[in-house]
């Protein structure tokens, strides 16, 4: 059934109903630490969109043309991580060489992303849900956009509450996690629209 889903439905589903951050709580560490400023959030979010979309595609190819034919599906965790790490490093090198502006805005965040569990999570979900190549790409892209949206919203909220008096023990990550929980509740309101899990 899932395999037959329209890529467009998967794309929007990954953004709203099955948001990787707000419904699976993946990619939390960089979400909590970088969401202090809107500008850096935008940079990191854009980097996540790009890396998620492309690594999901690469991992699909590796999985279906290398691991399945050799019956090595159980090695997917380690293989996916290696592919993601190598890809991120390559992209960082290229960006640094090609565009200084892009490096300052985006490249500096790439090393952070290698260890972002949301990236690996998306590749693993793609396998579990048996997506086709095109669907996987749109699933990766959608998840990235969803993550971007979530961190941008969080950065906006944190900016609003910057001047608020928060109980001492809740400052920083504490209040951020509570806000993330509220955002997740709000996003659950979308769940009737499309079901991708």
């Amino acid at each position: 059934m899932n395999a037959d889903m329209m890529p467009a439905a998967i794309f929007f589903g990954a953004i709203f109903t099955g948001n990787i951050l707000l419904s699976n709580y993946l990619g939390m560490c960089s979400f909590l630490s970088v969401s202090k400023e809107i500008k850096t959030s935008t940079g990191l979010g854009a980097a996540v969109i790009f890396v998620m979309a492309v690594t999901t595609l690469l991992n699909w190819i590796v999985y279906h043309y290398l691991l399945i034919p050799l019956h090595l599906e159980y090695l997917r965790f380690i293989v996916f991580i290696v592919v993601i790490a190598a890809f991120v490093q390559l992209v960082e090198m290229i960006i640094e060489r090609v565009s200084e502006g892009l490096y300052a805005a985006l490249g500096i965040f790439l090393p952070l992303i290698t260890v972002n569990c949301a990236i690996l999570g998306v590749s693993l979900f793609m396998v579990i849900r048996n997506y086709s190549l095109v669907s996987s790409f749109f699933y990766g892209l959608g998840s990235g956009v969803g993550w971007f949206l979530a961190i941008l919203a969080m950065a906006g909220i944190r900016k609003k509450i910057a001047g608020a008096s928060i109980p001492k023990g809740l400052e920083g990550p504490g209040i951020t996690l509570i806000i993330a929980g509220m955002m997740a509740l709000a996003f659950m309101g979308f769940s009737g629209m499309i079901n991708i899990s």
Partner: protein
């Protein structure tokens, strides 16, 4: 079912994939990340030709120009600032927390974050050229308290160091059992500048600290160590004002150097030195610090214990060092202050001194983070 062929196939597949990716990265590193030779012009005079692709901080270090840095290039201490006139590109998000608007206008950059990718023109304060790397021999290593050791280093090459009392040097901790990389850590010099062939340091053992553990538990007399320096702008200003020094822990070191230097030079300014410790066994060199008064006529040593042991005959000051300062200091109008110790202590002292009327720009400090 387990079989040898499954094992071989999985090892082969993983190896092939990893080797393939590694080759791509090696090739990319050689072609994409290769910036060839770059020319660095320093202060418009000196020219260096270096291999590009690494951070400016480590490139300069290789050329024996030492920029102070406490974190070793991770962008977390904000010390390695330089002015870069051209060739650095735009500011990176990792630099901005450390660089103010005024500094941006003067092209101040964090040299550990800026990569050498093309020709550059940089400005380095002249005094950093006097920063050198020394090899030195451990002349003595003795306990001052249960957790502070005095390390005396005899310089081997170069044989002479020029520094101002209050400045610090960095010690290179080599790879050893507890650390698999070399790190530099900064410590204030406690000896006087007139002793040009010796660097003496007071080092407190930090639990889990890479460098302090190495010095306390692994270093022996006769060993050779590498240091570089001097760094820092914590030194006595040449004015006529009264001086208040406040220190805690190994913060005694730079103050000791400053006081002994004043004594040698026959300085007659009024000096009060408050030293905060928990109990008597935490006091660093109490007799020696009190005896300086014989050579420095207007000097007063005021140790303050926050937690004297029961039954200890202590007739000196007790409580927090800040309270003792508040009791002794009547007015801060004609005072300048030199503080050295933990960030918490320094912040509390700045508050008290400001309330007493000491102008903020005349409070100099060295935070031991």
């Amino acid at each position: 079912m387990f079989s040898i062929s499954t094992l071989l196939i999985s090892i082969g597949a993983i190896t092939a994939l990893t080797v393939f990716l590694a080759i791509i990265l090696v090739v990319a590193d050689a072609f994409i990340a290769n910036y060839g030779e770059c020319k660095i012009t320093i202060n418009g005079k000196k020219e260096l030709t270096v291999k590009g692709g690494r951070s400016l901080l480590s490139t300069l270090m290789e050329e024996e120009i030492f920029i102070p840095s406490a974190c070793g290039g991770r962008g977390s201490c904000g010390l390695c600032k330089l002015r870069i006139e051209s060739g650095a590109g735009q500011y990176l998000p990792t630099e901005l927390p450390w660089i103010s608007k005024e500094e941006q206008a003067r092209n101040v950059r964090l040299s550990c974050q800026v990569k050498v990718k093309n020709d550059m023109e940089i400005l380095i304060p002249e005094e950093l050229f006097s920063v050198k790397q020394f090899s030195a021999k451990v002349e003595s290593l003795k306990d001052l308290t249960y957790d502070i050791k005095e390390l005396r280093l005899k310089l081997i090459k170069p044989e002479i160091i020029e520094f101002k009392a209050g400045q610090f040097v960095q010690i290179l901790t080599p790879e050893y059992k507890l650390s698999d990389e070399q790190v530099f850590r900064a410590y204030s010099v406690s000896s006087v500048p007139s002793e040009t062939d010796v660097v003496e340091l007071e080092i407190r053992l930090v639990p889990e600290g890479i460098c302090t553990t190495w010095i306390h538990q692994y270093l022996k007399e006769g060993d050779t160590v590498t240091i570089n320096g001097p760094y820092g702008d914590f030194h006595l200003r040449d004015t006529e004002r009264d001086i208040v020094c406040i220190a805690g822990g190994s913060g005694n070191a730079p103050i000791k150097s400053i006081l002994l230097d004043m004594a040698e030079k026959g300085n007659r300014r009024k000096v009060s030195y408050f030293y905060g410790a928990r109990s008597r066994r935490d006091l660093v060199l109490p007799e020696e610090m009190a005896e300086i008064t014989k050579r420095l006529p207007n000097y007063k040593y005021i140790p303050v214990l926050s937690n004297p042991d029961e039954g200890e005959d202590w007739d000196g000051e007790t409580g927090w060092v800040t309270d003792a300062v508040a009791r002794h200091l009547e007015s801060g109008d004609n005072v300048e202050a030199y503080l050295c110790g933990s960030p918490g202590m320094i912040d509390a002292c700045i508050k008290v001194l400001t309330e007493k009327g000491v102008p903020g720009e005349l409070i100099f400090y060295d935070k031991f983070a």
